[in-house]
């Protein structure tokens, strides 16, 4: 039901949205493409981790071949050069459509260190994935830790 209260709330939400747009502008074409590329990269991580996680959680029976394939994909993804995905001015303060905090561009050494930790965890997962479920479980957990370390430091919390 539309009441005066919902009207007020709607107006407040619209004003807040307008404020956000003022603070961060619509990205230009090249920036939007870079944001889409890096988010797609994240989606590919998530898809492959999903296959491994389903086994680790016991939702799907362990399948050594499928586990190895997913881990190999993750290793390939980690090895890709992502430099062009992160152009200057594509942070969450500058443009809409991203949760990438400006800190990423201010603390490159920190980002690189966390990237290295992820690569290390994925390398260990690649070793463990095809062995058995007991080897897979902690290795997926370690990758989760590496994901979280970066998200904690460099991703804007969800609104």
């Amino acid at each position: 039901m539309f009441t005066f209260r919902t009207f007020l709330l709607g107006t407040a939400a619209a004003a807040a949205a307008a404020g956000a747009v003022l603070a961060a502008s619509e990205p230009d074409k090249a920036t939007a493409a870079a944001i889409k590329a890096r988010q797609s990269h994240m989606t590919l991580y998530a898809f492959n981790l999903g296959a491994l996680g389903a086994m680790a959680k016991g939702e799907r029976p362990y399948d050594a071949g499928a586990a190895q394939a997913a881990a190999d994909n993750l290793a390939a993804l980690v090895s890709m050069n992502q430099g062009a995905y992160w152009p200057a001015g594509s942070d969450s303060d500058s443009v809409t459509g991203t949760n990438a905090l400006p800190k990423i561009w201010e603390d490159f050494a920190g980002v690189a260190e966390k990237g290295k930790a992820l690569a290390q965890a994925v390398a260990e997962l690649q070793e463990a994935a095809g062995m058995d479920l007991d080897s897979l479980r902690p290795a997926v957990g370690a990758v989760g830790k590496a994901c979280g370390a970066c998200h904690k430091a460099y991703r804007k919390p969800k609104e």
Binding site: G53, K57, V140, K152
Partner: protein, 296 residues
């Protein structure tokens, strides 16, 4: 008029005296600690379930550095900024000199060894339900952690919140030690309730607060605006959190959501802490989250 004043003044004085007494800091009962022996091994589990490192480790500390409880982290709130104190084993700057009773008074009553109220930014409102055994075990574990000589910084609070004695009044109003989930019929649910409502202090962030910072227990775990300013804290009652128990337990272990996004922000630290617990504790937490009343 004068006669009325003569009659009223003692009543007012008596009321003020009663209020003064009722808002005095309280201490743990030493008799309850008699014969309770602390064990550092068990204390590690209490430490990680209690999330002590999230506030008391140095800002941005990672890995083993999170065991150096030098404090210094800033907790932003509508009342001002709280600066987490040093609770390392240093006898001068930390809490190395504390007895088990001192720790019990702090955790269960929000009272410092010198008899002052702590601000409820320190979640004694949850820790109040801790068992004396867990407190003794935690004491033993903390004693074995490294010392840090970082001096404590004062909180940066505005008037009237900087009047520490007034916390006694706040405690009268909002310091409620009843379980929120009244029925926990299985050992697993009872463990989950203890982990969530006492040690893990989930409600301190996930339950909305009123203007004076009291928890709205009718909206337990229903989320709300982040008191630190940015974003919202999610509703984790069954009304919104539709993950399975296995998915919740896995999230608490690895940070992975069912979509294989991963936890960020402060929750990433909570996951770091909870990943140290045995699996049955995370399963108990998941069972608890499925059992709390759904709040739309």
């Amino acid at each position: 008029m004068r006669a009325a004043l003569i009659f009223v003044a003692p009543v007012v004085a008596a009321l003020l005296a009663a209020l003064f007494l009722a808002t005095q800091p309280r201490r743990a009962d030493p008799a309850a600690l008699a014969g309770v022996e602390g064990d550092a091994g068990r204390g590690a589990r209490v430490f990680w379930a209690g999330g002590c490192a999230s506030c008391h480790a140095a800002p941005k500390a990672e890995g083993d550095a999170r065991l150096i409880l030098s404090g210094g982290r800033r907790l932003v709130s509508p009342f001002g900024d709280f600066i987490a104190p040093n609770i390392s084993s240093d006898p001068d700057h930390g809490i190395g000199g504390w007895s088990v009773a001192d720790l019990a008074s702090a955790l269960r009553h929000g009272t410092s060894p010198d008899g002052a109220h702590y601000y409820p930014a320190f979640p004694y409102t949850s820790y109040a339900k801790m068992t004396y055994q867990d407190i003794a075990d935690l004491r033993a574990f903390l004693a074995g952690l490294p010392a840090s000589d970082r001096p404590n910084a004062p909180h940066e609070l505005g008037f009237p919140f900087n009047i520490r004695r007034a916390v006694g009044l706040w405690k009268l109003l909002y310091f409620d030690t009843e379980w929120v989930l009244q029925d926990a019929p299985t050992p697993k649910l009872a463990r989950g309730r203890y982990l969530a409502e006492a040690l893990g202090h989930c409600g301190e962030c996930h339950t909305p607060r009123n203007a004076l910072g009291g928890l709205d227990r009718s909206r337990w775990l229903a989320g709300g605006p982040n008191p630190a300013g940015k974003g919202r804290i999610p509703n984790i009652t069954p009304a919104r959190l539709d993950w399975s128990e296995a998915e919740i337990a896995y999230y608490l272990e690895t940070g992975f959501t069912p979509e294989f996004d991963s936890a960020g922000g402060e929750m990433a630290e909570v996951v770091e802490n909870l990943s140290h617990l045995p699996p049955e504790d995370r399963e108990a937490l998941a069972a608890y989250l499925k059992a709390v009343p759904p709040v739309p």
